[in-house]
């Protein structure tokens, strides 16, 4: 019996499921936290991420359902997320209103609106989408465990193309923030907006683009949830992931690759729960309790780390502060 258990836990399908589950659960967080990170570096704390993800999930679902193609879905998700973030641009960047108040308002409004519109449109039918095409990287997808060719959820080298695009984008954003003028402008908008203004660059424009980018990324993250992860839309689909992404972005201390790493770490902890369920391994706990334990472990870990290394926490100096030219 024990030998059978050990064999099933470490069998190739079980390990593949673990890796695949981590990516599937981590990808939406990766998109959303990447957007949030850029927005935070530009000095705008976007608490409305949860709502933007939900609207993105809805728009992505509807577009993929009617358009019959996942790329319509991701495009529509990005547009819808960016559309919602226009509220943030207008209220917080343009008018300089409190970002947290507006963020909470956006989240609440979007939760209400998405549920209402979906209900009005699909109350009877409750449609679902088919499985998403996966791209098997030639050669690499033949490797056991990380290859995942022929597995239902794939693995590292067999994922929907959008996952690879997201990873590429993370690298691109990291490079841009570090090495380009545009990245310097974004960082200046968050750390010293007055200096950026004095240098002749518009703080308003820089922050607006950053917020729009965050909205679009949150929308893609939400669309990923409805199109790839679930294949359907529910008003509880996002379920707090937006807030998790905010936390991940803050903990990444402004570095995109850390946000990706955090998302994947979180994805692993979510997928360990599924994996343990498949392997029937609960360390003496009921299976659903084990899931809860695994789900909260990353946050417990992070809090312990914060207590130990608390002094090293970093946030942009002008985060959540509206910029007003000439004010001291």
């Amino acid at each position: 019996m024990t030998a059978f258990l050990a064999a099933s836990i470490f069998s190739e399908p079980a390990l593949t499921a673990l890796v695949a589950g981590a990516i599937l659960a981590g990808a939406p967080l990766m998109f959303a936290s990447l957007g949030e990170l850029v927005s935070q570096r530009a000095g705008v704390l976007n608490i409305g991420l949860e709502g933007m993800m939900l609207i993105g999930a809805y728009a992505g679902f509807v577009a993929a359902y009617h358009g019959g193609n996942q790329w319509f879905g991701f495009g529509a998700g990005a547009l819808a997320g960016a559309g919602v973030s226009l509220i943030m641009v207008f209220f917080c960047v343009r008018l300089g209103l409190d970002q947290i108040v507006v963020g909470i308002a956006i989240t609440l409004t979007c939760e209400g609106a998405a549920a209402l519109i979906f209900d009005a449109e699909f109350a009877e039918s409750r449609p679902t989408l088919g499985a998403t095409d996966r791209l098997a990287v030639p050669g690499l997808s033949e490797i056991p465990v990380v290859g995942g060719k022929g597995q239902s959820n794939g693995s590292i080298f067999t994922q929907p193309l959008v996952v690879y695009l997201g990873l590429g984008l993370a690298v691109l954003v990291a490079w841009m923030l570090r090495r380009t003028h545009m990245g310097l402008n974004v960082r200046a908008a968050g750390d010293a907006p007055a200096a950026l203004d004095a240098a002749g660059v518009s703080v308003f424009a820089t922050r607006s683009w950053a917020v729009l980018f965050a909205g679009a990324m949150a929308g893609i993250g939400g669309a990923f949830l409805s199109i790839v992860s679930a294949g359907l839309f529910q008003d509880t689909l996002v379920g707090g992931r937006g807030f998790i992404a905010i936390v991940l972005a803050m903990l990444a201390r402004g570095r995109p690759l850390w946000a990706v790493l955090g998302s994947m770490l979180f994805g692993i902890s979510l997928s360990i729960a599924d994996w343990a369920q498949v392997a029937n391994l609960h360390f003496g706990l009921p299976s659903s309790t084990f899931t809860d334990v695994v789900f909260m472990l990353p946050f417990v870990l992070v809090l312990v780390v914060l207590f130990v290394f608390g002094r090293r926490a970093y946030l942009p100096a002008a985060l959540a502060l509206p910029y007003e030219r000439g004010s001291r």
Partner: protein, 383 residues
């Protein structure tokens, strides 16, 4: 220069343009209408437009909210919904006065509820009912307060942003509540993941002549206590100084870290009370998947009431009516009850907008937090 012109010059205001820049005064009534009523009106109107857009008659819908939340004995349900909301609002007022964001209320609420629903039925046969109820409120308050300690310490000691930490604590709290309900507190007689139930007679007694449980009295008393604390004691003044400017508070010689921790603890305690009122007044047990997510609902109300614990009471009643009546109206119209969220969110959005308009018209005295992030000024004072 003759003497008369010199005198006229003296009487001249020091800045000639001042008359033109004199702020517009609306008076108390106008100010109240603009800031506290207009956002609600705008939200209701926008909500009506949204309803009409999806083909629901908004007038009928709002009528249903009224009849489902007020008429017959429905107002009693609304008053019962008030109890947890008011207690949470009161808890929020304490931290907001200090300029601190406690966004972890849902975790504090569910964890306190789980402990009450888990321990209560177990203690209940051994002690008199009244003692048990008091004990349960104290336990809930202690649990809610305890859950704010990590964010409070991290903020007090390292200045770590409390939004991240309270959000993380809320995730942990929600999971821990589920673990407790499914694990040690699980009712052995059922397969449903829920705690054992209180005996019906051991719950909060109703106010005579109504179905309303006594939790609302606790909530109203708490509102009065917090109002007194905030407006009539030095503690309230100290919190207000801290909220206005942490630097000034430090210059005044206030023990800022201690104030942060205390305001967090008091806030968490009231959130714990809210959970106790809901469990002991309405449910009598807690299910693992139960999460009313009241936390974000009360945020706009607290601002509309300008952080005044007495003024917030009618707003909380209004929200309760919209929430209870909204369920009924949604059912009638075949819609999701989450329309209520839309109204609350829109209220908050319009409130921010009217505040901006008021700021533009130089009405002064905004009640919105200036910012929860302290501006880090260099010693040169250049930025």
């Amino acid at each position: 220069m003759t003497e008369t012109t010199a005198a006229a010059e003296l009487r001249e205001p020091p800045h000639p343009g001042e008359a033109a820049r004199r702020p517009l005064r609306l008076g108390r009534v106008g100010d109240f209408l603009l800031r506290s009523i207009l956002p609600l009106v705008l939200a209701v109107v926008t909500g009506a437009i949204v309803l009409a857009a999806i083909g629901v008659d908004p007038i009928d819908y709002y009528k249903d909210i009224y009849s489902g939340g007020i008429e017959l004995s429905a107002w009693q349900d609304s008053v019962m919904r008030m109890a947890p909301l008011l207690l949470m609002a009161v808890g929020l007022i304490v931290v907001f006065r200090a300029g601190i964001w406690n966004l972890g209320m849902d975790g504090q609420f569910l964890l306190a509820g789980a402990v009450v629903a888990g321990l209560g039925p177990w203690i209940e046969p051994h002690v008199p009912n009244a003692l048990n109820l008091v004990l349960m409120f104290l336990v809930a308050g202690a649990v809610g307060a305890a859950w704010t300690i990590p964010p409070a310490l991290l903020k007090a000691r390292y200045g770590l942003n409390e939004i991240i930490t309270t959000l993380m604590m809320t995730f942990i709290g929600i999971d821990l509540a589920q673990i407790l309900v499914k694990g040690p507190f699980q009712d052995p007689t059922t397969a449903t993941p829920q705690t054992r139930s209180f005996d019906f007679t051991a719950l909060l007694p109703s106010i005579p002549g109504t179905r309303i449980h006594g939790g609302i009295l606790v909530a109203l008393a708490s509102a009065v206590v917090v109002w007194f604390l905030m407006s009539r004691t030095s503690f309230g003044l100290r919190l207000q100084v801290l909220g206005a400017s942490a630097r000034s508070a430090r210059h005044m010689g206030l023990d800022v870290p201690r104030l942060i921790v205390v305001s967090f603890l008091v806030s968490g305690m009231f959130v714990g009370f809210a959970a106790a009122a809901e469990i002991l007044g309405i449910w009598g047990y807690q299910r693992a998947d139960w999460n009313p997510a009241f936390g974000l609902w009360v945020v706009p109300l607290v601002f509309l009431a300008r952080l005044n614990a007495l003024v917030v009471i009618p707003y909380v009643f209004l929200l309760s009516v919209v929430s209870i009546g909204g369920d009924y109206a949604a059912q009638n119209a075949g819609l999701t009850p989450r329309f209520t969220l839309l109204l609350v969110g829109l209220t908050l959005l319009f409130m921010a907008l009217t505040e901006w308009v008021a700021g533009r018209a130089e009405l002064g005295g905004s009640y919105l937090p200036r910012t929860s992030f302290r501006r880090r000024r260099r010693s040169e004072g250049s930025s």
